[in-house]
């Protein structure tokens, strides 16, 4: 039995080592990142297997030493030769104890560092932009990893069963690692299948998951090391190896969980559910069900359903199908993968490529799109400027001319549809990128020959139609297999830096119009007021004329009547007329009457007071209330 244990440990070590090297080579061969990470697990498994194998050998030696001692003790009873101290009498036991006391913890620390360091550096390496690469020979890689999984599973399963049945605890860590590695190799193979099924980053994601798992295993090892310090030591008790990972054991042998669950179900139901025929059938059928599922999976690849709006290209061993026609929407049968493969394309879907500025899709959509506010990653195109060219030619003095060029920001979505799938898929490596280049070239060429003001105004619709024609012609020349549906000049304006001045021109035009209108209003007012003033002058003159005439008539009439009165009493009449007129005329005037007789006195009048008083008499209009 000892020899078997010993041998099984060695087999585990050799298988782990061989599978590790082979997995590394297969991963390099197929450029599988997940395979490379899995080979690190295999390397760790080989390390653990080596240590456990060495520890097994030490325990075997100790057991042999004890047997020899027992035999000698029985043959030479009472001899003092074997009554020496333990250290001298049991060198193998002492070696094993020293190994467990010093080497195992140091190795476990080292293992923890390798696991943590591996997880950290692999993660960083995977996160680098250039790490992800296209798989090479994916089918070979996939089958190789399935093969590794099978071999590791068989050997690991045997080792784990043997360890459980014979109570060989030291065989358990390496067997657990072998089973976990079998699972990881299968996962790598599934990752490669996913890549082939249209999920190109599946291999990378699997690699990341394996890295994360490695980090968890490192954390568990660290926790085990910390707990080891506080663990109570009981002499004679068989202990679990410090480097044995429970997580690895659980992942490698998940049936342990099933057994525990079955026991719990038995307890809950009150009878042995785990011993019913269905349960037993299920457990036995699992081995058959897995290959059956695989077969069903392969058979399912014989049927392909092309969705509405799609077309598919059928390839047999990489060659297009003999019909030379793409598969249309509907149900189709084909040979299983990897003999036949179908590549789908959305041929009826309206697709688009963008020329020029790429509109920014932000959450806060603006309700108004202005020239003066940047709403895209601006890309300026050179555009001819006829005004500038004419200006320069007119003012040319023989020196270097300024180029008649302006800049224009354009954002042109070119919408297209695939019309010839064979051309689209097989002629060009990246047909959408080529279409974008062709469209950009036509736009650049067109703008370089068209006047800026023309295209921004009336020539816009013509430009759209012309560009569509030009791009379609270019696409046809390159046999792109696409129909250009529309070319939208949706965002065509001067660069944001200059755009405000364009708006100012419009503002100036409005200002000009406003000034003219204001002047016209003034003109109307002036003309009206002058007409009114003229009318007033004429009316005044007419009134004066009437007044003059009437006054002349009335004065003549009065005078005719005054003559008899005057002739009757000339003096009295004159005095009366004088005094009446004096009283009327001076009634409103301020009067100073000098009664002094001393004519030599200088009389001073303070007329300021009078003026001030006059000013007090002024009527001031009340202030207007707002």
């Amino acid at each position: 039995m000892e020899r078997n244990t010993h041998k099984n440990g060695l087999v585990n070590l050799l298988i782990a080592l061989g599978a590790g090297v082979a997995a590394f080579a297969a991963a390099r061969y197929s450029h599988s990142l997940a395979g490379l990470v899995a080979s690190v697990y295999l390397g760790l498994g080989a390390l653990v297997a080596a240590v456990s194998w060495f520890q097994t050998r030490l325990e075997d030696r100790e057991r042999l030493e004890r047997l020899e001692l027992d035999e000698l003790t029985r043959s030479r009873t009472g001899s003092t030769l074997f009554e020496a101290k333990d250290a001298e009498a049991f060198p193998a036991r002492r070696a094993r104890e020293q190994f467990e006391r010093f080497f195992v913890p140091i190795f476990t620390v080292l293992l923890c560092l390798i696991q943590a360091g591996g997880a950290y550096f692999l993660w960083r390496w995977l996160a680098k932009p250039g790490t992800a690469a296209t798989l090479q020979e994916p089918m070979a890689g996939m089958f190789l990893f399935f093969l590794f999984a099978l071999v590791l599973f068989m050997v690991g399963r045997f080792g784990a069963t043997f360890a459980r049945l014979r109570n060989q605890r030291l065989l358990r860590p390496s067997s657990s690692y072998l089973l976990l590695n079998a699972l990881l190799c299968a996962v790598v193979a599934v990752g490669i299948i996913l890549v082939q099924s249209g999920f190109p980053r599946a291999d990378l994601y699997v690699a990341f998951v394996l890295c994360g798992l490695l980090g968890l295993v490192a954390l568990e090892t660290l926790v085990a090391l910390v707990l080891e310090i506080y663990r109570p030591r009981v002499k004679g008790k068989i202990e679990r190896p410090l480097y044995e990972s429970r997580l690895v054991g659980l992942l490698g042998q998940p049936e342990g969980l099933i057994t525990t669950a079955a026991q719990a179900i038995d307890y809950q139901f009150g009878f042995k559910v785990s011993e019913t025929w269905f349960y037993k059938f299920f457990i036995q059928a699992v081995l058959w069900l897995a290959p059956l599922q695989l077969a069903v999976l392969v058979l399912s690849t014989c049927v392909v359903i092309i969705e509405p709006g799609e077309q598919g290209l059928l390839e047999r061993f990489g060659k297009p199908a003999a019909t030379g026609q793409p598969l249309n929407a509907g149900l189709h049968f084909k040979a299983p993968w990897p003999v036949d493969q179908v590549y789908r394309f959305r041929t009826e879907q309206i697709q688009s490529v963008q020329v020029g500025s790429v509109p920014e899709h932000d959450d806060h959509r603006e309700t108004v799109v202005l020239w003066t506010v940047s709403h895209s990653r601006e890309e300026n195109f050179l555009v001819a400027n006829r005004d500038s060219a004419a200006l320069e030619q007119a003012g040319e003095t023989g020196g270097k001319r300024t180029p008649p060029v302006s800049l224009l920001t354009v954002s042109i979505p070119v919408q297209f549809q695939i019309t010839n799938l064979m051309d689209w898929a097989y002629r060009n490596e990246d047909a959408p990128a080529l279409l974008q280049d062709l469209a950009t070239r036509e736009v650049v060429r067109y703008l370089a020959g068209v006047d800026m003001n023309h295209i921004m105004a009336g020539g816009r619709a013509d430009a759209s139609a012309e560009l569509q024609k030009l791009i379609q012609r270019s696409a046809n020349e390159r046999a792109l297999g696409a129909r250009i549906i529309s070319v939208g000049l949706q965002d065509l304006h001067p660069p944001v830096k200059v755009a405000p001045d364009y708006e100012k021109v419009i503002s100036a035009l409005h200002s000009k119009q406003a000034k003219i209108l204001a002047a016209q209003a003034d003109q109307i007012r002036t003309n009206s007021m002058s007409a009114a003033a003229a009318a007033a002058v004429l009316d005044q003159a007419r009134a004066q004329r009437v007044a003059t005439e009437v006054r002349a008539v009335s004065q003549a009439g009065l005078f005719t009547n005054q003559i008899p009165a005057y002739q009757a009493a000339p003096e009295v009449y004159r005095q009366r007329q004088y005094l009446e007129t004096f009283a009327r005329a001076t009634g409103g005037a301020r009067k100073y009457v000098l009664l002094t007789t001393n004519t030599h006195d200088v009389i001073t009048f303070d007329l300021q007071e009078s003026i001030a008083r006059d000013m007090l008499n002024l009527n001031i209009a009340p202030a207007k209330t707002p």
Partner: protein
């Protein structure tokens, strides 16, 4: 160890499949391949379908996309036109692998031979482009009225690149070449912005001053018309006043009956009229009727 026949069968099947895969490889319609024997390219494969090979490490298969690769210069490069204008240009090139055995050894050094090939093409294209741009004036690139020489320039660059590629036997062929982008250096771009702004300023000033001039014209015309209207009105008014004087003069003969009285009355009227507004009058005691203050009841009134 109990031998499970199913497990064994699956294992054997897997080994068979892996063995088959090690000896067979598949080339797609869109691919070409090179089989190397101990690292040396020995067999080009241009037909799609399954092909045999010895397993690794004896033979190894390198596959390349045989469709037209679209290589676009990711940056604009500056050049000088024939008339010494700085111009930025970028082009795109369509190329494909025509001879995988010639292509493989020249570009298989890096991780991706296609990228390596495009790196070499980038230099070739840059040289050809610089040479051709220098032979054309700016007007061949930019000219109002669709008179630019784009197609001719592209043909010239394409010719140089093709000659270079053929001379070096890269195992690839240039299918097409096009100018993708034209630009101006940043400093020049700023100047163009300034010029465009100035052009707008010219239009702005034109509108502003045209507006002011037009407004001034309208106002002055209105003023002129107003002055004319008033002058005409004044003239008519004068005529009316003259007629009034003529009419009034007919009654002057009445006053001639007693000129002394008439003058006295006119003077009284004038006195009354002149004292209508605010006046300050200073009288002495001799002025009637203030001579009453002297006590002279029967004093002769002054007629001054």
């Amino acid at each position: 160890m109990k031998k499970n026949p199913l497990t064994l069968a699956v294992g054997i099947l897997l080994i068979l499949i892996v063995g088959l895969l090690l000896f067979v490889f598949q080339v797609r319609q869109s691919e070409v391949a090179v089989v190397t024997t101990f690292g040396k390219a020995t067999r080009p494969i241009t037909d799609a379908g399954p092909h045999w090979k010895w397993p690794w490490p004896i033979q190894k298969v390198y596959k390349f996309d045989q469709r037209v690769q679209n290589f676009t210069e990711d940056k604009l490069t500056e050049g000088l036109t024939q008339d010494s204008f700085n111009l930025l240009t970028s082009v795109y090139v369509g190329w494909k692998i025509t001879d995988p055995t010639a292509f493989f050894p020249r570009f298989a050094g890096g991780d991706d031979p296609i990228v390596e090939a495009e790196r070499v093409l980038e230099r070739t294209v840059a040289n050809a482009k610089a040479a051709v741009v220098g032979q054309h004036p700016l007007s061949d690139f930019l000219s109002p009225g669709q008179h630019n020489q784009f197609a001719a320039i592209e043909e010239e660059i394409l010719g140089i690149v093709r000659r270079d590629v053929q001379a070096n036997d890269y195992g690839l062929e240039i299918e097409f070449l096009g100018i993708k982008k034209l630009g101006l250096p940043e400093n020049v771009t700023q100047s163009v912005f300034e010029r465009m702004t100035s052009e707008r300023q010219v239009l702005i000033s034109k509108s502003q001053f045209e507006g002011e001039a037009e407004a001034q014209k309208i106002r002055s015309e209105a003023d002129r018309k107003a002055a004319e209207t008033l002058a005409n009105a004044e003239g008519q008014a004068t005529q009316i006043r003259g007629k009034a004087e003529a009419e009034a003069a007919k009654y002057l003969a009445v006053f001639q009956q007693n000129p002394e009285l008439a003058n006295f009355i006119f003077r009284l009227n004038a006195l009354e009229g002149s004292l209508k507004d605010r006046s300050i009058l200073i009288f002495d005691q001799h002025t009637p009727p203030f001579d009453l203050f002297r006590g002279g009841f029967g004093a002769k009134p002054s007629t001054r």
